[in-house]
Symmetry: D2
């Protein structure tokens, strides 16, 4: 992925000092690492917006895991951050990845118009009792303001909208088939569609979330160092969860 | 550490099938991995007792980190367990390691009788405002029943008691110097001293705790799969910890 | 999972000091954590044999990951060990888990005799182009000596052999259907079947491997501290893997 | 760290949709997470340059640990990335952190001019047999081109140069005291000094490296998925490292 001699460093086919440093931002470097090419300016801006969106979600299970780990092992900041990153998995990211994957599969299905393929996809999931990922939110109603903003930004940047439009069609069809309206596109749906539109493979979108969340967790651990709350989290959780003996009796 | 041919497997100089399987227990294998030799029967029994002591400590920060990680990433049991293990660090294990290390340093100090060296050690820590590790407990009073039992077991097994006696002398001197009595030997002090007495280097005692705690955390994750409480821990912690803006204002 | 008052500690419904310490070995504690009950003596012995089998497999990818991590972060033994444990996943453990799961599914299939169900299972996998897990070994021929020894030990202990016999039938049928003979039961097949026979749920067998491998990795890190080879692993790997630019050109 | 209602999300006192998305880049978000305020444009550019510098260093121990972990556990991209991040520790980052810390301590020492304090610092380390961190490089001679470029960028951006100048004085004095010339400022020295100059606390600079390296490791794991080399790394490392029995005999 990189090589060096006495006077230069080459990273992914680019001269680090002359082509990258001072010329491209970190989001472009993230893009280069995954795609093997530098992004267009508009693609870099869009990736920045997604990274900013995913950085900080408050006192999540990941943030708590990092803080609790720090209370036991303050010698290793990297250990505390990674404890939180290990929770960036199927549940936390399921909806974004699944959206991105479903939107990609629409390319592979040959039969029928795109509209017919979208209808079939929604009907099959509904018949199978599966939720449509990327739609609906328990708090943000009637729309998820982050999804609205990401769509605005992408339009302003002139990013091709193949997957964002598909996501809108999925929403329209799902509102009818699932008989729930409104069923707004949420942050997961918007991020997955936009990352697809700038060419990030759905298999690596989890990696985008890991980079963003790493920054958020560094922030949480630094906050924990200055304002410890891990012990409070421990105490209230311990009090709220009763001891249960193997025979089912509780304390 | 191991090698194999078509008919046999060699691990640490032992024939796995003929020398180890069915002949030694897992604690002996742990000992072999660290010491490069099999333990005597009494040493294996003592190590079993320490491992059993360290396995399960209830709803600790480590257990919570494992359960919270599982809620986000149920696809990886190893990720959930390791998130908890990352908290097995300086704070959690500080007292046991520090006890073991201090007890070892008494060998290296040449001047004076052992009793004089112990007095000097306690007085220096007291003068420096440092606590004596391995002594005292907020809940277990006047004695820590686990420490008492580990001492009993070690005596029954006939384990040499060099470090356990030193630990008792440290306690006697500390009760006078720190003017706190009783100041019982706690589980950390008993484990560190006993592991020293069976020849486990203090630098690897953290590894003994990792093995034991791995078993405890597997139990917690399996319990989490059957009786999920991670979401409860998240909710109560999130409620108990106020949002604080960078200017210090709270929500 | 545990609770305490001033004079006692209760773990999984047992009094730690009176029921467990000095009375049960660590393998029994592992069993208690997963099953919520103590094992019979024969079950504990069988679990010890499986744990000993899984502890050390030489310079595996996991061992290398632990050693390489230690070279960068020697301040955290727990970080080095967990880096290795994170590789205890679907590939490394796929065969053992899949064996255990397949053997369990034979209980659930109602139609036909057990023999008919086994034939159907093997034929379906063969038709689907899938390997049979737990059979065959590239080095150990004509038999895997660890599997042979685990079967012997289990028989000597009088452990019920429902799943071990099923595994033997699977082998007999697979040798015919896959037209490969001999196709010996390997260590994965023997461990999965034996853990089934002592009642360890297949979903937690990965946890058994984690506990065993944790001990092996502690041994590797301690060896790395005394006899560093991580730098050698780095150098030879770096030399063996050519730099490849995004356009496919190599250095 | 964040809070939300139906129509808005607040992160670190900022309205995510109106103040951050589309207005600030990801490096600014990293800065906000650590500092609690948004950076000036020049500070954001400087942080981008440091993040780009730290992203990719080729087939490092961290990259190998991630790739080896992926070969065993391909179900968890987050597990593979975190295995590599666990090696981002004292050795890998020691020089950058130590530089940043030493440069900060010059503020705290009251006696003498800054020049006298720098001389004293270098002489004390030399007398103690300690290396000066952030100086010299085995490959990059007579200068480290990355350090030169980072100094250029910082000057163009008009970043205050208190710590960069101190670093240059440290170099000048060290060349005399250690009798080695040239002893160029390397990438660690330049990054530590520049991060100090934009106000990143030295205790969190490890976090900056973690974020950057997370991106590099995502790139390595995605490359491993498409062009597997983990098995090669395993094979050559296993061949290069002889089995050694506990008695010291080798295979």
């Amino acid at each position: 992925m990189g090589t060096a001699d006495s006077a230069s460093v080459t990273v992914r086919g680019k001269d680090l000092c002359n082509d990258l440093l001072g010329r491209v931002d970190f989001a472009s470097m993230v893009y280069l690492e995954i795609q093997g090419r530098l992004p267009a300016e508009s693609e870099a801006q869009a990736l920045n917006a997604v990274l900013v969106t995913l950085t900080e979600h408050g006192m999540t299970p990941s943030a708590l895991a990092s803080r609790l780990t720090y209370t036991g092992a303050p010698e290793s900041l990297q250990g505390a951050v990674t404890a939180g990153l290990l929770g960036v998995g199927d549940v936390f990211l399921g909806a974004m990845e699944e959206c991105a994957r479903l939107l990609m599969t629409l390319d592979e299905q040959s039969a029928g118009s795109e509209d017919e393929r979208i209808r079939r996809l929604v009907q099959e999931r509904h018949a199978a009792g599966q939720r449509m990922p990327g739609l609906g939110h328990p708090v943000h109603k009637p729309v998820d303001p982050r999804a609205v903003r990401l769509y605005e930004i992408a339009a302003e940047l002139g990013i091709p909208d193949t997957h964002r439009r598909r996501m809108e069609r999925l929403r329209d069809v799902a509102e009818v088939v699932y008989e729930r309206s409104p069923l707004p596109i949420n942050v997961d749906g918007a991020c997955g569609a936009l990352l697809n539109d700038i060419g990030i493979p759905w298999q690596t979108q989890r990696g985008i979330a890991i980079v963003a969340r790493a920054a958020g967790l560094v922030g949480h651990v630094w906050d924990e160092i200055q304002r410890p709350v891990g012990a409070t989290a421990w105490r209230v959780a311990d009090e709220a969860i009763p001891y249960q003996a193997p025979d089912g009796s509780r304390d």
